[in-house]
Structure formats: C-alpha cells, structure tokens
C-alpha cells in the first residue's frame, strides 16, 4: 500500500518535471512551424502551423556567416565530428590512464591521480590562452584535432574507471596472468569488456560535453568552415522562425545518441547481473 502510494507520488513528481522541461521546447517547436509575422505579432504559438517543411529546409541549406561558406548541414557535421572525437579520445585515454594508475607499479600513483583529478578545478575557460598558444604552435588551429584534443583529457572519466578497476579482485588479474595473458591482453580481454557499461555511459557523457562546447570552438577556429552547431546558434542570422527551427534541430543529435546507446547501456547492466 505504501509502495503503491509512493510510486504514484514519485511518478507525479516525474510528470511535473517532464512538463516543466518539455513545455518551453514544445513552444519553440510549435512556433517554428509558423511564419515570422505571426510570431512577431502574436508571440509564441502553442499549436502547430503549416510552414514546417519550408522553414526547416531553408535553415538546413541556408549559407550563413560572413563569407557564406557554411550551411547548417555542415555545422551539424562539424559538431558531430567534434563530439564523437571528444567522446572517443577521452574514453580511450581515461581507460588507459586508469589502467596504468591502478595496475602498473607506478611510484606515487595516488599522488599522480590526484594531480590529474585537480584539473577538474581548472576548466578550459581558465587556461584558454595557454591552450590556444599550444594549439597554434602545433599548427592545429582551424582543424578538427584542434577542436577535439584540448577538451579530451577527462579527469572525471579517469576517476570513474579508476574506482571501478579498484573493485576488481586481484585474483582475476592473477589467474589471467597464469592463463598467459600479457599486459595488453588483460586490458583488452578483461578490463574493457568488464567496464563496457561504464564505457557507454562515459561515451554519452563526453559526447554531450563535446557537442555543447562554445567558447573553445570560437577561439580555435577563425575559418567559418569549422563552425559548430552551438556556435551557429549565436551566429545565425535570419528570421526568428528560422532560429527556432535551428534550435530544435540542434537538440536532436545529443538526444539521438542517448536513445541509440541507451539500449547497450541497459543491456550491459542486465548482463552483468
């Protein structure tokens, strides 16, 4: 009885939360299917209009920027490359960093870990000028690697993998060794499959993190060719309905990645049980 009540109650809270989050998005979506004049004269619209196709195709193919070098489609491609790049590089690098910290006889491994961890307190925004000068020395300004690398060292992901590895019993490593597994094989055959669920979670997290970057892409790209979606939100010219349409489209990739990967994520959890 109590359980019934409490589960209904928590559902109610969830529903309220969903409404609070969904309604503004819906307002923008509904408004983006009207003509600009309706929005300008009557404000945001709650019901769908009839200009959906027209507005959205215009936005996708509209050539923006000063030099008219970039379309929304290209921005999506850029953002996608950057976000996947960040997700891949950071997951792989933190997996390996954690492996070294936990399993190798590194002197002062704990100290090293905390030094890595402290970088959480120094976000990119704080070290943006030195980072820029490093990237320009490496000739990575105006390139995809320039967008990806500086934000791909993730202390949080390293922390998660490290804590997870520490829970794996030593006997597993020992019996793997006796079974002839070398350092590399233990990583590939044991740690990677065992942390599958966590890898997927971290991948989603880092994808969204990379996708949402704003300040860094602005600094490191002077060519419009490398504009990302989030930059485009700011730079976009055109009428209000087109901006609304662009906002709605910009939300799709992160949502999509979560929906696609969530399946594996949940499957992983159930298999481990």
């Amino acid at each position: 009885m109590i359980r019934y009540f409490s589960s209904n109650f928590s559902h109610l809270i969830l529903l309220i939360g969903i409404f609070i989050m969904i309604i503004p998005v819906w307002l923008i979506f509904a408004s983006s299917t009207h003509t600009a004049s309706i929005i300008n004269t009557q404000g945001l619209q709650f019901f769908l209009g009839d200009k959906f196709l027209e507005n959205y195709t215009k936005v996708l193919l509209y050539e923006g920027g000063f030099f008219k070098e970039i379309t929304a489609l290209k921005m999506f491609l850029n953002s996608f490359l950057m976000a996947t790049g960040v997700a891949f590089v950071s997951v792989i690098s933190s997996l390996m960093t954690a492996y070294v910290l936990v399993y190798f006889r590194v002197k002062y491994a704990t100290l090293l870990f905390w030094i890595i961890f402290i970088t959480i307190l120094v976000p990119l925004e704080l070290r943006i000028f030195p980072t820029y000068s490093v990237m320009s020395t490496l000739n990575l300004v105006n390139s995809y690697w320039g967008l990806i690398i500086p934000i791909s060292a993730s202390a949080i992901a390293t922390l998660f993998f490290r804590q997870f590895y520490k829970t794996i019993p030593d006997e597993l490593l020992e019996s793997a060794k006796l079974d002839g597994a070398n350092t590399w094989r233990f990583f590939i055959d044991f740690l990677v499959p065992l942390s599958k669920t966590m890898i997927v979670a971290m991948f989603i997290f880092m994808f969204v993190f990379g996708y949402n970057q704003y300040l860094w892409p602005i600094l490191v790209t002077s060519s419009e060719q490398y504009w990302t979606v989030v930059m485009g939100l700011k730079m976009m010219s055109g009428s209000i309905v087109n901006k609304f349409a662009f906002v709605i489209m910009s939300m799709i990739p992160p949502v999509l990645i979560i929906i696609v990967l969530q399946k594996y994520f949940i499957k992983g959890i159930f298999q481990d049980k």
């Binding site: 006997e171 019996s175 006796l178 002839g180």
Partner: protein, 350 residues
C-alpha cells in the same frame, strides 16, 4: 633431480613481515603435496611464489629443471585454483576454459576438443554456455578445476579451493580432486588449514608453522611419528591430549601416574602427548578419568573428562559402548603409543 625444487626460499614482504623462512623441499613428478598449517603461517605465500605471483626475496625455485625465479607467471606453465575461484565473470564457461589455450596459440579445433574433454571429465558439459554467475558454488569449483586441467600444465596449485563449500560438498569434492589427480597424473600442491583434507589428499604432507616447515612426510608417518608438539597437536582429530610432566632417569611422572622405561635420555620438564584413540579401558589402568561429557558420533564415542589437574582430557571408544556422564574410567595406553616432548621447545624426545 626432482620435478620441483625449493632451495632456501625466503619471503619478506615490503612491510617487513617475514612470511617464509629458508624453506627447502622437493616435490616429485606426479606427486600430490599438501601444505597444511594454521592461518597466517605462510602457506599461501609459498604457493604464490611457486606460481610467480609473489617475488622471491631469497633462494631458488626450480621447476622441471629450469630456474624459474625470474620467469613471468604467464610463462611458467602452472595452473592455480583460487579460494574464490576467480572465474572470468564476463565469459561463459566454455571461454573460461578456452582462454588459456587461446593465449597459447592453439588451433580452434584443438581447443574445442580439449575443452569438451575437460568438461566431460568434470561433468560440466551442460553448463558450457552459462556465465559463472549462473552456476552454484560446486559447479563454479568444477569450472575452476577445469580451467586448470584443460591446459595440462606442469603443476597444479590449489589455494584452499574447498573452503567456500558446505561440509558435504567439501567431502565430495575432496574425493573428486584426489581421483582426478590420480587420473590426470599432474604434480599438485594443495594448500589447506584443514588437517582432515590434508591427511586424505596428500601423498606427502608439509606441516608449516610460522613460515617454517616443521615436518615433511607421508600422512601416516606424520601421524605416527610427529617430530614436535606443534605437529602432534595439528595432525589428528580429535586433538592429541597434552599433559604436563617430569622425566627423570627414564621415568615419567605426570598427573598422578608414572610411566617407566621411557626410551629417552632426556631429564627435566616434559609434555606427555596421548592420542584419544590410543587408549583402552582396563580394570586397573594407568589413567583415571572422571567423565564430564560424552559426544556420540554413532561409530565412535568421544569421552571428555578430568584426570587430576587436567580438564577436557579426551578418550575415544567404540560407539557401541555406553558410558554415562559422571562415571569413572580406568584407561591404559596401547602399545606404548605415547609421545614425550621437551617442554621448553616442543621437540620430541622419545
């Protein structure tokens, strides 16, 4: 040259704990050796040095004629069964068995053949597709055994593999391990702190105390002829009775009785050891026992009682005899089956 030779092997852990002291011993090809001793005596440490999981501080270990001190565990060709089995949780049983073979570059068909053979031997064929988490404790135990057997290693190492099983399964697996080892014929070292397991499994037995081998021999040798009080007390169940006494000119005085013609030239305070099963009832015996407690095991009775100053003295007799609490028994030692130890250092003196 023996199959496995330990030469003055010493282990000092980085924190200064000296777990194994200058231990030397040989294990012959095909032999079943058991390390037995109380908790913390260094059994696991010794085993893990043979496996290569701990560095050897001093001394040498030779396996099959090769010095293996510096050989990586993955190259030693030894297999170990851990107390908690350490099965690979993300692989099914088939892959658990196959993994070590894959790493040795054996062909797929051969792997399949070997895994199926081992699975049949251990009666786990029907679980090959299951993950370890879907198996019972006993089945996991078999998988762990299978993983060792399938590789046909030079040597099997067991670190208390039965201690997570319930009593009945433990006895059953104990038997199966022994049978299996005889069938496969691989040299084995088995660590346990259970003296019954040790006695039943071993071809030879090493009783370890405080990082030292106190005695090495066949189970029956050690049972009949313990070299020290520690070994005498550790091997045999129920435990040997120990009585304080004094030995002077081959006459031993203890707790109200005397034994003459003791075969020893030792003079001074001693401990007299008598096994509960080495006594029998007579009319005018040496020892007078007033019974406090009777444990009926069915086949045997264990009688606990008092003789003069010694409490909980144990005597074992046939289960058909009816003995009441509070009665007085008169006992004799059979065939001079008693042991005399120097009280100061516990060494056997008769």
């Amino acid at each position: 040259m023996s199959f496995l030779e330990l030469n003055k092997v010493t282990k000092i852990y980085p924190n200064g704990t000296k777990a194994v002291h200058e231990t030397s011993m040989n294990v012959e090809n095909g032999e079943f050796m058991v390390f037995v001793g109380p908790s913390g005596c260094g059994k696991s440490t010794l085993l893990r040095m043979i496996a290569g999981l701990e560095d050897i501080t001093e001394g040498n270990i030779n396996l099959d004629g090769i010095l293996i001190n510096k050989v990586d565990p993955s190259e030693r060709d030894v297999a170990m069964v851990f107390q908690n089995y350490a099965l690979y949780p993300h692989m099914n049983v088939y892959n658990n068995l196959a993994y070590g073979l894959k790493n040795r570059g054996i062909s797929k068909e051969d792997i399949e053949k070997k895994v199926n053979e081992a699975a049949k031997l251990l009666q786990i064929s029907e679980y090959l597709q299951r993950k370890p988490s879907m198996l019972s404790g006993g089945q996991r135990q078999r998988v762990a055994m299978g993983r060792a057997i399938v590789r046909s290693p030079k040597i099997f190492l067991f670190d208390e593999p039965l201690s997570n099983l319930d009593a009945k399964l433990r006895i059953q697996m104990r038997l199966e391990i022994k049978k299996l080892q005889q069938k496969v014929g691989v040299t084995s070292i088995f660590v346990t702190h259970d003296q019954v397991e040790a006695m039943t499994l071993a071809d030879r037995l090493a009783v370890i105390n405080n990082g030292l081998i106190e005695q090495l021999g066949t189970p029956i040798e050690i049972y009949n002829n313990p070299k020290s009080m520690f070994v005498a007390g550790f091997i045999g169940s129920p435990q040997m009775n120990f009585l304080e006494g004094e030995l002077k000119n081959k006459t031993l005085t203890s707790e109200g009785f005397e034994i003459n013609n003791v075969t020893s030239d030792f003079n001074g305070p001693v401990i007299l050891g008598i096994r509960p099963e080495h006594m029998s009832q007579t009319d005018k015996g040496l020892i007078n026992l007033s019974v406090d407690l009777v444990e009926q095991l069915g086949s045997d009775n264990l009688i606990y009682g008092e003789i003069k100053n010694k409490k909980d003295f144990c005597f074992r007799c046939s289960g058909s005899q009816i003995i009441k609490k509070g009665s007085k028994l008169s006992l004799n030692i059979n065939d001079n089956n008693y042991y005399v130890f120097d009280k100061s250092n516990g060494n056997r003196v008769n």
